[in-house]
Amino acid sequence: MATEQQEHLKIEQLRQHSADEIETIAGREKENLEGWIPSLATDTEIREALEKAFDYRGDITITLKDGAKVEGYLFDRRSGSSLKDSFARVLPTNDRTKVNVAYSDIAALAFSGRDAAAGKTFEAWVKKYWEKKAAGEKNIQIEPEKLD
C-alpha cells in the first residue's frame, strides 16, 4: 500500500484535473529506506514503519521483545484495531514457511537488506544506453542479477 506521502504527486495532479483528461500521469516519490532503523516509540510510528517495510523491496530484520530475530521479506501486513491483532507477515531468508509476527511483539525493526529496486530507474537505463552507444559498444543490455 503506497502511503499518501509516496502518492502525493499523483494526488496533487488529480486535485487539479479529472483523471480522464490527464495526458501523462505523475509517478511516485521513492524513499531511500535501505539501512533505516525506525523509531518505534508510539503505535503510530510502529504502524507507519511497517507500512513502509511492506513497500520496501529488500529484506528486513525484526527483533522481538523476547530477543529472537526474524529476518526475511515482509510480503504482507494485516492491520487490526490494536497492535496485538495487527500482524507482519514475513517469508524468512532461509525458509518458505510464512511467519506471522504480532506488532505488539516487535521491539525493533531494521531495513537491513539491500533495496532491490534502488537505482533501477528507466532514466538510469537510458543514460547507460547512450553512454555505451557513444563508446561504440554492441549488444548493450542490463543483465539480471546473479542469484548465487
Binding site: M1, A2, E7, K10, I11, L14, A19, D20, E21, I22, E23, T24, I25, A26, G27, R28, K30, D55, R57, G58, D59, G72, Y73, F75, D76, R77, R78, R89, L91, T93, N94, R96, G113, R114, A116, A117, K120, T121, F122, E123, A124, W125, V126, Y129, W130, K138, N139, I140, Q141, I142, E143, P144, E145, L147
Partner: protein
C-alpha cells in the same frame, strides 16, 4: 475468430453458469505466477525486484494445481518472472492442459526455441510472447539489444512446430502508433494466431516511474493504432475492450476477474496493486474491500488504469449481463469492423514524438517520413 471456437464456447458456458448461479463476482482468468526470476531485467518491470531468496523460490506443480482448482477459472495465464526458467514448467503446463484449462504461457521467448521440445502442441496451450514493438523499440524496452531477434526466432519455431502462438505488447508513454502498426504486420507475417495490446500502468513498484500514459493520451494512442485496422490483424482481446481502449465506451474495473496467485498467496486486489495477500481464494474474495478499487472509487492508484487485467473481464461480463450486451458483442464477432476513422488516420499521419528524451531517438526500421496508409485489406 481470434480464439478457437472450443475456447470461446468454454468461456461462454462458464460465464453463463456463473450468471445462472447468481454469482456477482467470478474469476475469468487466473494469473498464475510460479516464480519471479527472469532472464531479462526490463526497466519497466517491478516483478523482478525482490531479494535473491524470493527470486529463487518457485511454486511447486501441486501448489499451482491447487490454486487452479480453488479458483475455477477456465483460463490460466502464466506470467512471471520468466516461466521457462521454472524447472517444472512443462509438468505444470501438462497438468493444466489435462485439467482442460486454456493456458497462456507468457514468455519473453529467449528460451522458447530450445525448450519447445518439452511441450506438446494442444488447443489448450498458447505461448503468449511478449514483444513490445519493432526491433529497436522492443530491445530498448526490455533493456537488451538482440532480444527482438531471439523472440521472433522463438515465435517462428513455435509456429512451425504446430503450437498456438499469440503476442502481448505493452505500450508506455512515447509509443509511436505508426511503428506499432508496422509491428502488427510483422507479427501476423510471422504466423501468430492473434495479438494483444495494452497500455502500461503507473505500477507502484516499477522502476520506471515517469513514462506512464494518462487516460486521455492512452485513448488517443489506441484510437490511432486500432482504428482503420487491417483485416489481416487478429486480436485476442475482447472487441469491446478494444473499443474501451479507443475511448468509444467506458468500463469500470473488475479486479476479481483476473486474480493473481504467487508464492505470497492470493494478491489483493489485482495483478498490479499489492495491498496484501490472502491465503485462500475464498478469503481473497471475501476480505478484499473491492469498493476501494477502480476509477469510480477515487483511489488515486486506479485513476489512470486501463489495463487488460482489470477491464477486459468487464467487457466479457457486459456480454452476458443483458440482451443488448449479448447482441452488441455477437455482432462484433460476426461482422468485425475495421473501425474506419478519417480523424484517426489524420492523427496517425501527423503523430510527432513529444519528448526530448533519448527514447524517441530510436529509429524505426521504416523511414521516418514514410507515413502509413490505410489499406483496410
Amino acid at each position: 475468430m481470434a480464439v478457437p471456437v472450443s475456447q470461446a464456447w468454454t468461456v461462454a458456458s462458464y460465464v453463463l453458469k456463473q450468471k445462472i448461479k447468481g454469482r456477482k463476482r467470478y474469476p475469468l482468468v487466473l494469473m498464475l505466477e510460479p516464480l519471479f526470476r527472469c532472464n531479462l531485467a526490463c526497466a519497466g518491470c517491478g516483478k523482478i525486484q525482490y531479494p535473491a531468496h524470493i527470486l529463487k523460490s518457485d511454486l511447486s506443480p501441486e501448489e499451482c494445481f491447487r490454486a487452479v482448482e480453488e479458483c475455477g477459472a477456465p483460463m490460466v495465464s502464466i506470467p512471471g518472472g520468466e516461466p521457462l526458467l521454472h524447472p517444472k514448467m512443462p509438468e505444470i503446463v501438462a497438468g493444466l492442459v489435462a485439467r482442460n484449462k486454456y493456458v497462456y504461457m507468457c514468455t519473453n521467448a529467449l528460451l522458447l526455441k530450445e525448450k519447445l521440445h518439452l511441450f506438446k502442441p494442444s488447443k489448450y496451450l498458447s505461448f503468449s510472447v511478449h514483444v513490445d514493438g519493432e526491433r529497436e523499440h522492443h530491445d530498448f524496452s526490455v533493456c537488451r539489444e538482440g532480444g527482438y531477434d531471439i523472440a521472433m526466432e522463438g515465435i517462428r519455431a513455435a509456429v512451425a512446430a504446430g503450437f498456438r502462438v499469440t503476442t502481448n505488447t505493452t505500450l508506455f508513454d512515447g509509443a509511436d502508433p505508426n511503428s506499432v502498426r508496422r509491428h502488427f504486420d510483422q507479427l501476423m507475417a510471422a504466423g501468430v494466431e492473434s495479438m494483444m495490446v495494452s497500455p502500461g500502468y503507473t505500477y507502484d513498484k516499477a522502476p520506471d516511474q515517469n513514462h506512464f500514459l494518462g487516460k486521455a493520451k492512452s485513448r488517443r494512442l489506441f484510437r490511432a493504432i486500432l482504428s482503420n485496422r487491417k483485416k489481416t490483424w487478429q486480436f485476442n482481446t475482447h472487441p469491446l475492450f478494444s473499443e474501451f481502449l479507443m475511448g468509444k465506451r467506458n468500463f469500470e474495473c473488475t479486479p476479481w476477474g483476473m486474480p493473481t496467485f504467487s508464492i505470497f498467496g492470493w494478491q489483493k486486489p489485482c495483478y498490479l496493486l499489492q495491498d496484501g495477500y490472502a491465503d485462500t481464494f475464498q478469503e481473497l474474495m471475501e476480505t478484499t474491500e473491492w469498493e476501494n478499487y477502480g476509477a469510480k472509487s477515487g483511489n488515486p492508484r486506479c485513476a489512470n488504469c486501463m489495463v487488460h487485467s482489470g477491464h477486459e473481464a468487464s467487457a466479457v461480463d457486459y456480454n452476458f449481463s443483458s440482451l443488448k450486451g449479448f447482441l452488441v458483442t455477437a455482432s462484433k464477432y460476426m461482422f468485425p469492423s475495421t473501425y474506419p476513422d478519417p480523424d484517426a488516420q489524420k492523427l496517425l499521419n501527423e503523430w510527432k514524438p513529444e519528448h526530448a528524451t533519448p527514447l524517441v531517438q530510436i529509429q524505426s526500421s521504416a523511414s521516418d517520413n514514410e507515413l502509413q496508409t490505410v489499406s483496410g485489406d
